[in-house]
C-alpha cells in the first residue's frame, strides 16, 4: 500500500485489483463517481478524486456476443455495465451463455485473475 500511494491512478487501480479489491473514484468537489481512474474529474475539472470501494452491483447497459471459432475458445460476451454508483465500464458477464446476456439484466461484480492480473467481471444477480 505504501508503494501503491506513489502510483498514478491507473496503476493504483490495477494494483488494487491484483489484490482482489475493486476501487473506483469519487470526486469530493462535485460528489460524482468517476470511472476509469483519472487525475482530473471529467465532470467538474476538479482534482479532488478519492478512492472508494465499488459496491459491485450494476446493470447491463449493452451487450454483444463476439463470435470466435471454437478452437480459439469459442464465442464470448462483451458488455457495458452501468454500476449503481453511476459509472459505466466495459466488462463481460460470466456464468451464462454469452447470447443469454440481456440489456437490463442485474449483475454483480467479481474480481478474477486473468493471466496474472486482477480483472472485474460480472455475474447475473439471480445467481445463475
Amino acid at each position: 500500500m505504501q508503494e501503491d500511494a506513489k502510483l498514478g491512478p491507473e496503476a493504483h487501480y490495477q494494483a488494487q485489483l491484483n489484490q482482489g479489491r475493486f476501487l473506483i473514484q469519487r470526486c469530493s468537489d462535485c460528489a460524482r463517481h468517476v470511472f476509469y481512474p483519472r487525475v482530473i474529474c471529467p465532470h467538474c475539472g476538479g482534482a479532488a478524486l478519492q478512492w472508494v470501494e465499488a459496491g459491485g452491483a450494476g446493470m447491463v447497459y449493452s451487450t454483444t456476443t463476439v463470435r470466435r471459432k471454437a478452437e480459439a475458445g469459442g464465442d464470448y460476451d462483451v458488455s457495458l455495465i452501468d454500476l449503481d454508483e453511476g459509472v459505466r465500464m466495459m466488462s463481460r458477464v460470466e456464468g451464462i451463455a454469452p447470447t443469454e446476456v440481456k440489456i437490463g439484466m442485474r449483475v454483480r461484480a467479481r474480481v478474477i485473475d486473468q493471466k496474472g492480473a486482477g480483472l472485474v467481471v460480472f455475474f447475473a444477480e439471480d445467481g445463475k
Binding site: Q14, Y61, T64, I103
Partner: protein, 391 residues
C-alpha cells in the same frame, strides 16, 4: 467572424480517386499520389499550385511529412489532425479558414491506403496499435473492434427503439443497390435482406454485411476560394458549412449509445449554412457499419430519434427511394480503405456536378456529407455542400 461568414466562400474544384478495391503492388503513398494527380487534373491545376495540404493516415503519426516529401511540395498551410475517418471532412474548416485568410490559395486534401493488399494490413496494425496506443480499460475484455463497439451501439438502439436486424439489413441492401449502379464500386453482386439476416454473425447483431468493406483506395480533392473557383474548368461545389464534434474515444465512455456527435456537428453546420434537413437533396454519410446510417439520419434531423429504422424501410434510401443516401454504395459496398471521409466528400461533389451516370440524383443542388471517426462514433464532422445557384 463566425462560421456563417464563411458560407460558400470556399469551393471544392477537383476530385480524384485511385487504387480503389485492390491496388496490388502499390504503396499507400503511390495511390495517394495518383489520386492527388487525378484531383488536380480534374481542377485544371498542377502540383506547383498546391500551397496547402490536409492529410492523415492510421500508420504514421507524422504522415503530412511523408506526403510533403513524396509530392515534392512546400505548403504554407499543413493540417494533419487525425480524428479518425472523419478527418477528411473535418479538415475542411481549418482549410476554409486558411484559404479565406489568404494564408494559402490551393489546398489539397488527400488520403491513400493499401490495407487490403499490403503485407502490413489490418491485423498487424491492430496488434501494433494495442502496444502504441492501448485502451487499458477495454483491452482485457477483447472487444473485436471496431465491429464490437458499433455492435454495442446497435444493440442498445434496438433495445430502446425497437430497431430490428431487418432495418439494419435495409441499409446494407440499399448501399449494395447503389453500388450496382457505380462502376467504381467493389461489391456489386446482388444482395437481399434474407441473405444479410442469414449470414454468419461477427459480433451480434452484426453479420459481415453490416460491416464496411476492407479495401485499398486513395482519394483527393482540391479546395480554393470561390472567386478563383469560378475561373477553373469544373463547376465548383461550394462548402456552405463544416462543423466537427468530438465526444469520446472508447465506446465505454460514450454517454448515450444512441446519440452521436453528429447531433452537435449537424446543428452547427445547418445553422451556418442557413439550411435544414428539408432543404437537402442527398446524404453522403460514413457507413462504417449499418447502424451508422440510421444514427446519422436521426442525429442530423432527417427523422426523429429512434425512427431511423422505419425511415429506411421498403428501400427508402435505395435507388428510386424517397431520399438518396450513400449513392456510391458507401463503405458497405463501394470502398473502405480504413479511413473513408474523403470518399463521401467526393461522391457529393460528383453528384452536385451531375457526373454520376446511372446513379445520378437528378437536379441535386444540395448535399450533406457526414464523416464518422473512431471506434465508436467518437468524432463526427458534417458539411453542407451546394451548387452555385444555392448561394
Amino acid at each position: 467572424m463566425s462560421l456563417k461568414d464563411l458560407r460558400g466562400r470556399i469551393a471544392i474544384v477537383g476530385v480524384g480517386t485511385a487504387g480503389c478495391g485492390e491496388a496490388h503492388g502499390m504503396s499507400d503513398l503511390e495511390i495517394l499520389g495518383q489520386a492527388a494527380k487525378a484531383a488536380l487534373d480534374d481542377a485544371g491545376l498542377a502540383l506547383k499550385d498546391v500551397d496547402g495540404l490536409c492529410t492523415a493516415n492510421l500508420n504514421a503519426a507524422m504522415w503530412p511529412l511523408n506526403v510533403v516529401e513524396y509530392l515534392g511540395i512546400r505548403p504554407k498551410f499543413v493540417e494533419g489532425t487525425n480524428v479518425g475517418g472523419a478527418a477528411f471532412v473535418a479538415h475542411q474548416l481549418p482549410a476554409m479558414l486558411a484559404l479565406d485568410a489568404g494564408v494559402c490559395d490551393v489546398v489539397l486534401v488527400c488520403y491513400g491506403s493499401t490495407q487490403r493488399t499490403s503485407s502490413f494490413g489490418r491485423k498487424e496494425r491492430s496488434a501494433a496499435r494495442n502496444l502504441l496506443d492501448p485502451e487499458p480499460f477495454q483491452a482485457p475484455y477483447q472487444p473485436f473492434n471496431p465491429p464490437s463497439s458499433y455492435a454495442l451501439i446497435a444493440a442498445r438502439h434496438m433495445h430502446q427503439f425497437a430497431t430490428t436486424r431487418r432495418h439494419l439489413a435495409e441499409v446494407a441492401v440499399a448501399a449494395r443497390k447503389w453500388a450496382q449502379l457505380n462502376p467504381e464500386a467493389f461489391s456489386r453482386e446482388p444482395l437481399d435482406i434474407e441473405t444479410v439476416l442469414k449470414a454468419r454473425m461477427i459480433s451480434d447483431p452484426f453479420t459481415a454485411y453490416d460491416c464496411c468493406l476492407v479495401t485499398d483506395g486513395a482519394a483527393a480533392y482540391v479546395m480554393t476560394r470561390a472567386d478563383r473557383a469560378r475561373d477553373l474548368q469544373k463547376q465548383p461545389v461550394h462548402i456552405l458549412a463544416n462543423a466537427t464534434a468530438v465526444w469520446h474515444r472508447s465506446v465505454s465512455s460514450m454517454q448515450d449509445l444512441t446519440v452521436t456527435p453528429s447531433k452537435e456537428s449537424g446543428e452547427r453546420a445547418f445553422a451556418a449554412a442557413g439550411l435544414g434537413p428539408k432543404d437537402i437533396d442527398m446524404l453522403q454519410t460514413y457507413d462504417a457499419f449499418s447502424i451508422n446510417t440510421l444514427l446519422a439520419l436521426e442525429d442530423l434531423g432527417f427523422c426523429k430519434k429512434g425512427e431511423g429504422g422505419s425511415f429506411v424501410e421498403d428501400g427508402a434510401i435505395a435507388p428510386g427511394g424517397r431520399f438518396p443516401v450513400n449513392t456510391n454504395g458507401g463503405g458497405l459496398s463501394c470502398v473502405h480503405p480504413n479511413m473513408y471521409g474523403a470518399f463521401i466528400t467526393i461522391e457529393a461533389v460528383r453528384q452536385l456536378r451531375g457526373e454520376c451516370g446511372e446513379r445520378q440524383v437528378e437536379g441535386a443542388k444540395t448535399a450533406v456529407v457526414n464523416g464518422n471517426g473512431g471506434n465508436s462514433a467518437s468524432s463526427q464532422s458534417t458539411s453542407v455542400l451546394a451548387t452555385a445557384d444555392v448561394l
